[in-house]
Each structure stands twice: as C-alpha cells, then as structure tokens.
Symmetry: C2
C-alpha cells in the first residue's frame, strides 16, 4: 500500500510516501513560499507515485476541520503572509482523485504517537502531544478520536500562574502577552535573556522558570482530560528539560490524582527526529481509505 504524508509547516513542507507499516520509502523537503508555488511543488512530488492510494495532511493553522463547514480543508486566518484562506484540500482534490485526510500538525503528531504506543503494546485510549518550539500547541486524542467540536484546540493561549522570579517579563504573544506560548515558546529565551535557548545551559534558572510553566500546562491537560500520557516534542524540549518539568509537575499536583509512573507519563516522542506527524499521516491516510 502506498500512502502520502504532507507535514505542512510554516517554514517547510515535509512530503513523504510510505506504507501501512509506517515505513518511509521516499521523502522531500519543500520550502514554504507562496501557497501557489508550494502546493504546486507538493502536487508535482506526489504525481511521481502512480500507485498512491491516499494522502494525509497535517498542517500549520489555524485550519478548518469541521466537515460541515464550506471552508473545510482551508488554512483560515493565519498571520503567515499569503496563506490566509488557502483551500489546501481543494487544491489536492483537483490534482488527485484520492481520499485526502486533513488535520492539524499537532493532531498528526499526536496520532503518530498514539499508533506507535499501540505498536509498543501500550494499551491507551488517550494521549496529548505538545509541541514547544516557535509556537506552542497540542493535539489531543480521547477514546481514539481527536478533540475539538467548535474547531481544533489552541492550548498555547491559556493563562498561567506566574513564576515569582519572572514577574517582570511581559510575555511575547501578540494576542495575549503572557499566555503559555508567550511565556515558553522558543523565542522567549531571546526576549528574556538576549540569548537563544540552545546557547543557555540547563543549569540556568531560566529553564526552571520554563519548566514551571510547562508543568502547569501538563497539569491542565491532566486535570481536564486524565489522558494516559503526555508527549512533548519541539525544539525547546529535551529529556533533561522534561526531568525538570516532571519535578515541578509533581510539586504542583501534590499527588491529587494518580497518573502512574511519571517517567512514563510525561515523555519524549517514541518516533525520533520529529517524525511523529509522518507516522500519524500514514495511519490517517489508511483510515481515510477505509472509510
């Protein structure tokens, strides 16, 4: 079975073809320029594979994923220049007479981690996948299905208890100032310290401040959902950082509910090198095909 995956990011598209065992047979990176050019290159890439049976897209957003909306399949009011109101799925449907699955980038990653967990014999019905990078978002799966009735979640924009040593930092979200994304996305390192996160050692106190906020985000997911596990991906995340997050999470939760072994609850992705969304796309493409 030959399946297509498009992980549509704001800086690049990762296009891949693979099979129902989630094995990548070929892939390409396409720079995200204008919608016309980027989608044309995407179509040209997949046109090479005559045996393709379905394509799944995990896209940056916001996107419209309510099937009953006339804008289903669109990237909607994104601030990314040129991309607002782009009929992504429509363009693919024009080029391919194939089932097209459509979801958010973080939903795709969440789904990839969800199907991999099953392969690893973790019996779970629910999962949260956070990305903490240029932005902050999460995909959430409950009872095997994505969450979101009025639209997809936007968990990056919740408010948090401020760290006492960080009260002077206003946050960098243009919409909310000190929401989660405004406090912990990658660019906040430079806004706070003048240095990039990658150049700041984990012993620096700024990482404790970040962990305090990320732990609160994990607490929110825990107390609102009671998911089986919470996966953290994205450029800001590393195993040593998650160790700090777990410690703060434990303090903040104060054993109020049982989440099992914390080392298996707050975790790095099972799929390495940011590949979760591609795995998720292959799985979603199969599902779309079987509908």
């Amino acid at each position: 079975m030959l399946l297509g995956s498009i992980e549509a990011g704001g800086t690049k598209f990762v296009c891949a073809v693979g099979n129902e065992d989630y094995r990548i047979l070929d892939s390409v990176h396409i720079k995200t320029t204008t919608p016309a050019e980027t989608l044309q290159k995407t179509v040209d890439y997949f046109k090479q594979f005559k045996e393709l049976q379905a394509i799944a897209v995990s896209s940056f957003g916001p996107i419209e994923l309510r099937k009953n909306s006339p804008k289903y399949g669109y990237i909607t009011n994104t601030p990314k220049p040129g991309w607002a109101n782009t009929d992504f799925v429509g363009r693919l449907k024009e080029a391919f007479d194939l089932p097209i699955a459509w979801t958010t980038d973080v939903n795709g990653s969440a789904y990839g981690e969800y199907v991999m967990a099953t392969l690893f014999n973790q019996k779970i019905d629910s999962l949260v996948y956070f990305t903490i990078g240029t932005g902050v978002g999460a995909g959430e799966i409950v009872n095997g299905r994505f969450i979101g009735d009025l639209g997809h979640p936007e968990v990056g924009h919740v408010r948090l208890k401020r760290h006492p040593d960080d009260l002077d930092f206003k946050g960098i979200c243009p919409y909310h100032g000190d929401c989660l994304e405004g406090l912990v996305s990658g660019p906040t390192f430079e806004a706070r310290t003048g240095k990039k996160g990658q150049d700041i050692p984990l012993t620096d106190h700024v990482w404790d401040i970040m962990a305090f906020y990320v732990a609160q985000a994990a607490i929110q997911e825990t107390l609102l959902f009671r998911p089986a596990k919470i996966v953290f991906g994205g450029g800001v995340v590393s195993e040593p950082f998650l160790k700090k997050v777990r410690a703060q999470f434990k303090d903040l939760l104060n054993n109020y509910v049982d989440v099992g072994n914390l080392d298996q609850y707050i975790v790095m992705p099972l799929v390495k090198n940011n590949g979760s969304a591609t795995v998720g796309d292959f799985a979603l493409a199969v599902e779309e095909l079987n509908k």
Copy 2:
C-alpha cells in the same frame, strides 16, 4: 418506564424516580450521615417502587469509574469522614437486580444539560458543566461521551494567573493553596472578606476578581476542548455574575478563536433548581438499560 436517580452529595442525597421523559414522579432528600445508614435509607426508598427498571448514581468523589478496576463503583479516597473506600454500586447491586449507571455528580449534571440541549434543538456534540459552590469541578462531554481515561477530571485544581488586586490571598485549597477551587469556591468569600458571598453585593470588587479566575477556567476548557458550550451551576453562580465572567472571558480570549455568541456559550443551566443531575441520571439509567 420507571427509573431511579441518586444524586449523592456530601450533605444530602437527592433520590428520585421518574420516567424516560425526565419527569420526576417522586423524590426524597436523605441526609448524608454514615455510608451504612445513608445507603440503607436510599435502598429503602427505592424498594417502594417495584416497577423500577434501572438506577443511575451521580456521586460526590473522587470515585472509581474505570470499568476494569476492581474498585469500580467505589467512592475512593474522599476526605469525607467514613466515606473513603465505600462500595456504593456494590451495595445497590446487593439490593436490586437492576442495571446501575455510575458517574460523578458533575458528569451527571453535564449529561442532564446535554440531553436537555438536544430537547431544546441545540445540535451539540460537546459540553462542559462547571459547578462552583463548596467545591469546584466540571463534567465534560465530547462526542457524546464523558472525558477521562485514567479517571474523572478534577478541573478545580488547575493553577491560574493571579489577579493583581488579589496577590496577598493565599487561597484555601489544603492541597494546592491558590488553585481554582482555592480561589473561587464559596468559602473563599469568607476567607477573603469575613463575609459570606450571599451577603456581598455584586458591585463589590471581589466579584470582579472571582470573575477573572472563573473566566480563565472557561478559557482553559475552550482552548483545550473547543466545546459547544459551557454551563455554570452551583451556589456561587448567578446570571449577573456570568455577565462579569463573559466580559473577562472576552478580554482574555481576545477573539483568538470563535465561540459564537458569548451569551449562548457561557450559560446558566437549562434545568432549574440544580436539577441537571437528576435529568442526567434518568438519561443515563435509560442508556444503562439499553446496553
């Protein structure tokens, strides 16, 4: 069809019999004393109704609702004296050879509001029901089902951005200090002002502080779930208070996602006089019967 409802609260049990149209035919209040006495009186009440076909329980908690747990049907580690580790469903099963539905008090209320919304021709797949009273909790329905894989939600214990005029208040939650419940449950009025909430006019600034926190709770549910609506019940809530909550919610969300008409999104219960759980129980009893 004759159905039983038990809304098991920490101070009283509301037991009712009714039908599949959610009409209450008879009801009684039983004071919550010891488990043995309270459950005996509950059993005695329902024994009067020979035609009873199913019973649903919406209970204070925490409770075990994972069907695969040996403690399914128990009230678990509640601080309420005498009630920890009480086999509630087991006691009912001993007395009645009937299907017994079992969920949390807030889930029962959420379900009542959910089925009533359908009767009111609101086409929704998701709903959040908050209670803000002696404690703070919420029941959450997504795709017609309750949320909670590792257990039921405990949304009262998330952390929040503190209001600048409330920074000196430590909060009253014995586990977390200034979590949501520690900041907005009924007893916080007395802790802050020495006066009960019912004696403080809505023009008092303390109500703005409360609304700021409750709005953040609504923001969390909105951004994590994107539910179709959020219902607020419990002793602290009134329509004039929700007006303040909506105003703060609008400020905090800053139009980041579309929730439709705010007056129809953040609302009082459709079922009056705290009756949502009884309606929910009747609906859950029917479902249990049809399983």
